[in-house]
């Protein structure tokens, strides 16, 4: 009952004019920043940090929370419209969202994505408001071996999206992990695969690889084909999503939301493994799983819901334990500390109004996101009517700027272009690029957690199997692999018979 009263108070505070406008502004900044490849909402949050100096502590959290919620969704706009994920977590949106755009259903895809994201985020915010305490005590049981196991689960989930090519998918994934090892290692401080190039010692950033592999190949194909990405119109109106479309994917959204909430509360796991795991599971569960990758609504809705369901869940360890689980929540922690606020159990006792205003803001932001998302998506959808050559030229320029902006370094532009050529070549010969990108994103995390686990537990590799949570997650990973490979194995057996 106390939680309801406190949340009511939080809503009253969040609906004050300036507080509400702060949420709306943050949300719009987040959606636009997320939609621009290479800019990312995390950069937008970092750039917004100085502006929070002049705000009240609660208002600063509302602003950053708005950017966070909007930005996690925003990445899917460019993923769906031009096949370039604005954020790593939007990668699965390219698999089924972009094929819908190619069919002229950009508006429908965007509406499904924003609705799924908003529902996922909303449920997650409610979980944050009412179940913080038990979830926090569970998250506290996680240590390096559990983080490693969770990251490994994210990595192996790529098997589920490998059609009939698990071997090639694994080669691509491992190649991505190897690319992720370039630069100084996380524990010993020694540079690897730098080949005497100083810039290589700083490593290859996943954003640069992602932009290169996806954007450049796609733009070159736009130039070389007669492909028309303009929304198809029926009776003078672009094809949008109907209520039926949303009802069709209700279970996909529910599953995605559940997975996102669980993955999100694990510090360090974040939205990307959540979205990829949700896609992999949905592919296995859905009746149309075999058609995934060709523009199936469920394949878009599940990862979208999971992605935003991690936002509220990721706030649980931040607010209850003071542990930031991602770069975005680390910036929020920095903003709180700048204002002299220390998150943790005491915050709930010392300043419950602030805590519940943040909870209320997360709920409001997710509801508003439907309107903001549809508005921004409509704007971006209109941009798709631009002649393809103009669109392609600007995609390249934005991609190059995005790669440059990662570290303000021209070397990253060269790396991006190299991966662009590679990505185009991979596409031409049918070698999958998505596992490679996933390897570059999650590989460094997996390595860091693996090495620190080994160092913390006296190089005893059995620690991953003797700790109950770690062993359970690894068991789930194994089940997941077997489950995903079952159709291929059955096919081989059938052919033999």
């Amino acid at each position: 009952m106390a939680a309801f009263e406190l949340l009511g108070g939080g809503f009253l505070a969040a609906f004050q004019f300036w507080a509400f406008m702060t949420i709306v502004t943050g949300l719009l900044v987040g959606v636009v920043a997320g939609a621009l490849p290479g800019i990312s909402f995390v950069n937008a949050m970092a750039m917004a940090l100085p502006f929070t100096y002049v705000m009240e502590p609660t208002q600063s959290m509302l602003f950053l929370g708005g950017i966070y919620v909007g930005g996690v969704f925003g990445g899917s706009i460019s993923a769906i419209l031009i096949n370039v994920p604005g954020t790593p977590a939007s990668l699965p949106a390219t698999w089924d969202g972009y094929p819908m755009t190619k069919r002229g259903e950009a508006k429908r895809a965007l509406t499904i994505a924003v609705t799924a994201s908003a529902i996922g985020g909303l449920v997650s915010a409610l979980v944050l408001a009412f179940l913080s305490a038990p979830f926090a005590s569970f998250a506290l049981k996680f240590s390096q071996p559990e983080f490693f196991a969770a990251t490994l689960l994210g990595l192996v989930s790529v098997i589920a999206i490998a059609k009939d090519q698990p071997v090639i998918t694994m080669v691509s994934l491992l190649l991505g992990i190897v690319v992720g090892t370039v630069g100084v290692d996380p524990l010993y401080g020694q540079a690897r695969f730098s080949f005497g190039v100083p810039e290589m010692e700083s490593g290859i950033r996943f954003v640069v690889v992602m932009i290169g592999l996806f954007a450049i190949g796609e733009v070159v194909d736009l130039l070389a084909t007669d492909r028309d990405l303009r929304p198809k119109k029926t009776g003078g109106k672009a094809v949008g999503a109907k209520l039926r479309d949303i009802l069709d994917v209700k279970w996909a959204i529910a599953r995605g939301t559940g997975i996102g909430c669980l993955i999100g509360m694990i510090p360090g796991a974040g939205a990307t493994p959540g979205a990829v795991i949700a896609y992999g599971i949905e592919k296995q569960v859905s009746k149309r799983g075999s058609a995934f990758g060709t523009g199936v609504k469920e394949g878009l809705a599940a990862p979208e819901a999971a992605k935003n369901a991690t936002t509220g869940a990721a706030m649980i360890p931040l607010l209850t334990l003071g542990i930031p689980g991602s770069a975005a929540t680390a910036i929020m922690l920095a903003a709180m500390m700048l204002h002299g606020v220390s998150p943790g159990p005491l915050l709930f006792i010392m300043d419950p109004t602030m805590v519940y205003t943040i909870f209320a803001a997360m709920i409001i932001a997710n509801i508003l996101m439907i309107f903001a998302g549809i508005g921004v998506a409509q704007l971006f959808s209109t941009l798709m009517r631009t002649p393809p050559s103009i669109l392609a030229a600007f995609i390249i320029v934005l991609s190059v700027v995005g790669a440059f902006g990662v570290r303000n370094n021209i070397f990253d532009v060269y790396v991006c272009l190299a991966f662009g050529v590679l990505g185009w070549g991979m596409k031409r010969i049918g070698f999958p690029s998505a596992p490679l990108v996933l390897g570059v994103i999650l590989g460094p995390l997996a390595e860091r957690y693996f090495l620190t686990s080994m160092a913390n537990f006296k190089q005893d590799w059995t620690v991953f199997f003797t700790r109950p949570i770690s062993a359970t997650i690894l068991g789930l990973a194994l089940i997941f692999i077997l489950w995903s490979l079952a159709p291929s194995i059955k096919g081989v057996m059938r052919r033999r018979n």
Partner: protein, 196 residues
């Protein structure tokens, strides 16, 4: 693998444009696993620079990449074995098959497009963002079939200035200004647009 790019049915032959040369197209998927296997076996030797030695404490910095390269080598061997097996069977196809293009794909145009993109990236530090971007947008639009200069020139000019304002003015990104006269021109343009 169900990437958006891979999922669309693509036919390699082209109705009006130049198609992928059949020789390299057929050889590449066959050579790829062998090339990747070779890379996985050779790369560990080049992990550290010649004047460095891997730390001996714990697993060391080479352990993880070594394990990943070993895994990659194993999967490449599986890939090769499967392809060799497929060669012997009549109704089997190689693991990697070139996607089939649905309609027109002008391979020559794609190569020119790639060269243009690489040239753009290469020219950025020399000509500066403003000049190289405007030249790139204009050439790309003309090459892409948009021949109306009344559209191309305003799009180039307004687009470049809008990007400059957004990234150098608003996001304070230190985009390249170029060398010598191009640097002077970039500074003049940035002052003229009120960014500096």
């Amino acid at each position: 693998m169900a990437t958006a790019s891979d999922s669309d049915p693509v036919r390699r032959t082209s109705r009006t444009g130049r198609s992928i040369p059949p020789g390299p197209a057929a050889i590449l998927p066959t050579l790829l696993p062998a090339g990747l296997l070779l890379m996985a076996l050779v790369l560990p030797r080049f992990m550290f620079q010649s004047d460095q030695t891997a730390s001996k404490i714990g697993l060391g910095p080479a352990a993880w990449p070594d394990a990943m390269l070993l895994g990659m080598a194993v999967f490449c061997v599986l890939w090769i074995v499967r392809d060799v097996w497929a060669l012997g069977a009549t109704n089997r196809k190689p693991t990697l098959s070139i996607p089939i293009e649905d309609g027109h794909y002008d391979f020559g145009k794609a190569i020119v497009g790639l060269i243009m993109i690489i040239s753009y990236g290469w020219s950025l530090p020399i000509l500066g963002f403003a000049v190289s971007t405007s030249v790139f947008i204009m050439i790309w639009c003309l090459f892409g079939g948009l021949r109306n200069l009344l559209v191309v020139i305003p799009v180039t000019m307004i687009g470049t200035i809008a990007l400059l304002w957004l990234f150098m003015g608003l996001a304070l990104m230190p985009l390249p200004r170029g060398f010598g006269p191009f640097d002077d021109f970039s500074i003049w343009l940035l002052r003229a647009t009120g960014i500096y």
